[in-house]
């Protein structure tokens, strides 16, 4: 599982405060903690209350990449913010994200090619979040075709079937598990990704819901997840899940091995 650490997000008070007072050591500390806990990449999001997101994202990236070499996942719905981030990002970059609208895909794929970045593409478009499997797969097919037409290798795509909170669209979750499975058939080289914490937004006892879904998504073939790597039980459950699925070779120190085999 390719783990994208989600904690550098202005939605969190600590990060927002660190952003406000330009406290690089707090941000770098959070980046290091996530790396040590098994993150393969770090999501960077300055949050909804940033007054100057382009400037904030630039500062975050510059602070982190001085100390941590992990790929950075530039998380914004605004193209200008993504471009500002890409302009200063020296680590490997992942654009997070584009919708499946044709004109947006074209712009972001061009950007990705120019900057050597990977791209997360959501299976949503102007019409909103699909409510069924077929529509999600249709949008995924559009993403894959557009990438092929623009000569962006499928291996650089992350397809995100878009998780909805369990207390909003409970019936959707099983559908999404099926979509993950089908996406692997549709485009074996493209990776699948979910923003795991979305599923438990606004619920109580959030972590259990995250853990349960991640394990099921692993079975369905999920390749990557944006999640909280400091949830040790989540990470351990996932490490054990990789063994059950024969994706990693057992040894007595398998929890430690999960981290060591990566680093």
């Amino acid at each position: 599982m390719f783990v994208i650490g989600e904690l550098i997000n202005g939605m969190y008070k600590g990060v927002a405060a660190a952003l406000e007072r330009r406290d690089a050591s707090f941000i770098v500390g959070l980046a290091r903690q996530q790396a040590a806990a098994g993150a393969d990449a770090l999501d960077i999001n300055c949050g909804p209350f940033s007054k100057d997101p382009a400037q904030d994202v630039r500062w975050l990236i510059e602070a982190i990449q001085k100390e941590v070499s992990l790929p950075l996942c530039l998380d914004s719905t605004k193209q200008a913010v993504i471009e500002a981030g890409l302009a200063v990002c020296k680590n490997k970059a992942i654009i997070n994200s584009t919708t499946a609208d044709e004109e947006k895909l074209k712009v972001y794929f061009e950007l990705a090619k120019k900057k050597g970045a990977d791209v997360i593409a959501l299976t949503v478009d102007k019409r909103g979040v699909p409510q069924d499997k077929e529509r999600r797969l249709e949008l995924a097919a559009r993403i894959i075709e557009t990438a092929a037409a623009q000569d962006l290798e499928a291996g650089r795509l992350f397809l995100d079937p878009v998780l909805m909170p369990i207390n909003v669209a409970q019936a959707q979750l099983f559908v999404i598990l099926e979509v993950i499975k089908d996406l692997k058939l549709l485009a074996p080289e493209a990776r699948t990704v979910v923003g795991l914490s979305n599923i438990s937004q606004g619920t109580r006892d959030r972590r259990w819901i995250n853990r349960a879904f991640l394990l099921m998504a692993q079975v369905a073939g999920l390749d990557a997840a944006i999640l909280d790597p400091l949830d040790a039980e989540l990470m351990k459950t996932m490490a054990a899940g990789e063994l059950v699925l024969n994706r990693n070779i057992y040894c007595d120190a398998y929890l430690e091995a999960y981290l060591k085999t990566k680093k």
């Binding site: 070779i249 057992y250 040894c251």
Partner: protein, 320 residues
């Protein structure tokens, strides 16, 4: 592969490269430094990925002769078996390096001691300019007493010492870390233990690229296929990204082949099996070839003729 490979796998990790031997400028005294590992694909699939280093043949040289060796072997090695230094020197006509086995320190044999083992290793080091593999006798107590002394006496030469096992790895590993040597990590045909031992060794401070896996093999007819499948599984996991299994393999071919009854039985004992000398050589050759196809990076071998045949095969396998 006249038509070439139809489907090329994209692997994500290379096998670690292990360096054997140190030149004067690096604190050793070897003229030749050898490297193993670095594979980016399964054995000999040149079309799929690079295989930067050819598998090496190490000549098995014993400090004391084994009374069980068949005539086919003792006649060929002749006087050599009484003089390990001359044996080591002569073996380099066919081998890339020397694997010195200190069997005499075993408490049941008690033919040599720590001092003699150190002296012999130093003599062999002086007589040849290639790196050495130095193996203990397999008795934990004797090995823990003797091998660290040999390690210290050869500090900086970047030799390959073995074997450590899950139940006994700390003493020798600590010595090898301190003295700049590489180490052979042995597991009993068990990929789970192979991985576990590598984790234990790296926890102790042994760098990943100074570990060589001994997966434990059997000769043809004696469990060779189990070793083959374990090696294949470990190597596939390594190429798929498992750093704790991405070490080169060493396979002790000679010692395994020459203890089989097919290699030992005389021509008169089983006339329908054909000439005993040829039979033993072929047993060693066939075992070696299978291990190469399983991913072996270092083969230890005994009979010079078998080495010659396998070397020619390696030449062929390495042709792109």
């Amino acid at each position: 592969m006249a038509d070439g490979l139809k489907y090329l796998e994209k692997w994500s990790l290379d096998v670690h490269v292990v360096r054997l031997g140190a030149k004067k400028s690096e604190g050793g005294s070897r003229a030749a430094v050898l490297e193993v590992g670095g594979e980016k694909t399964l054995p000999f699939l040149h079309e799929e990925g690079a295989l930067p280093h050819r598998p090496l043949i190490a000549a098995e040289v014993y400090d004391v002769p084994d009374p069980d060796w068949p005539a086919a072997l003792t006649q060929e090695l002749a006087a050599g078996i009484q003089d390990p230094v001359a044996w080591a020197k002569g073996s380099l006509k066919e081998a890339d390096l020397v694997c010195l086995k200190l069997q005499g320190i075993h408490p049941e044999e008690a033919k040599t001691d720590s001092k003699a083992a150190v002296a012999l290793t130093q003599k062999v080091l002086k007589a040849v300019d290639v790196p050495l593999i130095v193996l203990g006798c397999g008795d934990a107590q004797a090995d823990n007493e003797v091998l660290p002394a040999v390690s210290e006496a050869t500090k900086g030469e970047r030799l390959l010492f073995g074997d450590v096992v899950q139940e006994n790895y700390k003493t020798l590993a600590a010595a090898c870390i301190a003295d700049g040597h590489n180490i052979v990590a042995e597991s009993p045909i068990d990929v789970n233990i192979a991985k576990q031992l590598n984790i234990l060794l790296t926890d102790l401070g042994m760098p990943r690229d100074r570990i060589v896996i001994n997966p434990t093999i059997g000769a043809l007819g004696y469990g060779m296929e189990y070793a083959y499948s374990i090696m294949e599984r470990a190597r596939t996991a390594a190429l798929s990204g498992d750093r704790m299994l991405a070490m080169p393999f060493i396979c002790f071919v000679g010692q395994e082949a020459w203890k089989t009854k097919e290699a030992k039985a005389g021509t008169q004992d089983v006339p329908e099996w054909g000439d005993a000398a040829e039979r033993g050589i072929m047993w060693e050759v066939v075992t070696a070839l299978a291990m190469l196809q399983a991913g072996a990076d270092i083969l230890t071998m005994t009979h010079p003729k078998a080495m010659r045949i396998v070397r020619q095969a390696i030449d062929e396998f390495m042709k792109k």
